[in-house]
Symmetry: none
Subunit: 136 residues, 4 copies
């Protein structure tokens, strides 16, 4: 059975820079346990071809991830997930997510939605189980 790589997809025309999307995807994959310490990320060339994007973009994302201590880059080997990555990612992801949630709540209130509306929307979102970073 062939190695089954985690697959990513990015929105090339969206408002979020492609390299940021890659960084987020990798971080969420680590936080979710889909990428574990020692696993290798797709090579720069492979990922740039898969996503139809510029190799420099992937390189920049990987470099940033290395600066965050989430991956190690080694010549001839590739880019591997670091041992401390899961812990860092989980903390990071939760802090970011919490902040976004607070911001979004405030935005809803400001736009005239009632507290009850907000709670209802959140409840439905929780129940639907949607996950923007899920990758099949």
């Amino acid at each position: 059975m062939a190695k089954e790589d985690v697959q990513f997809c990015v929105n090339i025309d969206g408002p979020i820079a492609v390299y940021v999307q890659i960084e987020n995807l990798v971080q969420f994959a680590i936080a979710a346990g889909k990428l574990n310490p020692g696993d290798t990320l797709p090579s720069v060339r492979e990922m740039s071809e898969t996503l139809k994007i510029n190799p420099n973009t992937v390189t920049k994302a990987y470099r940033d991830l290395e600066l965050m201590k989430l991956v190690h880059t080694r010549r001839g080997v590739g880019v591997t997930v670091s041992a401390e990555a899961p812990k860092l990612c989980r903390e990071n992801a939760r802090a970011m997510a919490k902040e976004h949630l607070i911001d979004a709540t405030a935005e809803c209130i400001a736009s005239g939605l009632s507290a009850a509306d907000v709670r209802k929307i959140v409840g439905q979102a929780i129940d639907s189980g949607a996950n923007p970073y899920q990758v099949p």
Copy 2:
């Protein structure tokens, strides 16, 4: 009694472009009923002086708002809120806010926060009454 204009303030060094902040502020002011159809926005010069920014930046924001049909602008007269603006802004603001809330909730779940955590965070955000677009 002097005319009491709506006051705006922008974060000049933030990640969001100043002209976008102005657009958002105006939209939220309209959605919140602080600016009503027929009201004139602060003149380009006035706002640029108040916010200590370049007139062109304000001009760009006002131009965009006109393209969104939220204001009418007439040379030598000023920029006035359009009749359909409140409807457009309210719909827009609520739809956007709701979407952000759903996304943020999903992000929280994906990052490992429990449903109870999420509800608690939302509850606190509602109680704190924070409003990113409020202007004293």
Copy 3:
């Protein structure tokens, strides 16, 4: 029987400056014989109130018309159509109209309409008898 003034109307939100619209309206009214030498134009105050526009705008239009020798302005009397106005207006109007027609034809061809299409459109426009400067 009360004096029945020629009535004008302008499009305050259109792309054409209000004072230009007034000038055109007056010229066409003269060319069409609705205003004759010696007739007085509506006073600045009257017209500005009727059209809900700034008196300065009317003043500017009347001043331009005077520079074109189409009207005479006399204190205590008003603005009256000059003797040579009909001749000037007719020439002017025809020259302008002809130029516009040539431009519009070229534009049609450039946009891909066939010569036959163009002739057909013109024929229909002629038959319909529409007149953009007609005032009831």
Copy 4:
């Protein structure tokens, strides 16, 4: 064989704003099939140097075109013609041109030209093959 870019030229001292001229030129080039979906427009810097105008002026035109959904613009990549652009441009161009032709015809009639005169002028304009948006 070197890539042969579409060439534009603008009238820098005319009554029409330069950025509007650029927008029109691009729209007509698309309508005429000289620019096709996926083609990249000249870069902002390139066009500003070619036309001897300020880059900001080109930027404004490109920004407007993007709002009209005629182009996509991506940082670091360039500005490309959208898939739906030809359809939008053709419809737009023909509708506008037709409207102008009708208006101009009515104007001619109103100014006293005979139907025969009008048809003659149109015929000559067609035969002359003049095209205000043609670029060699």
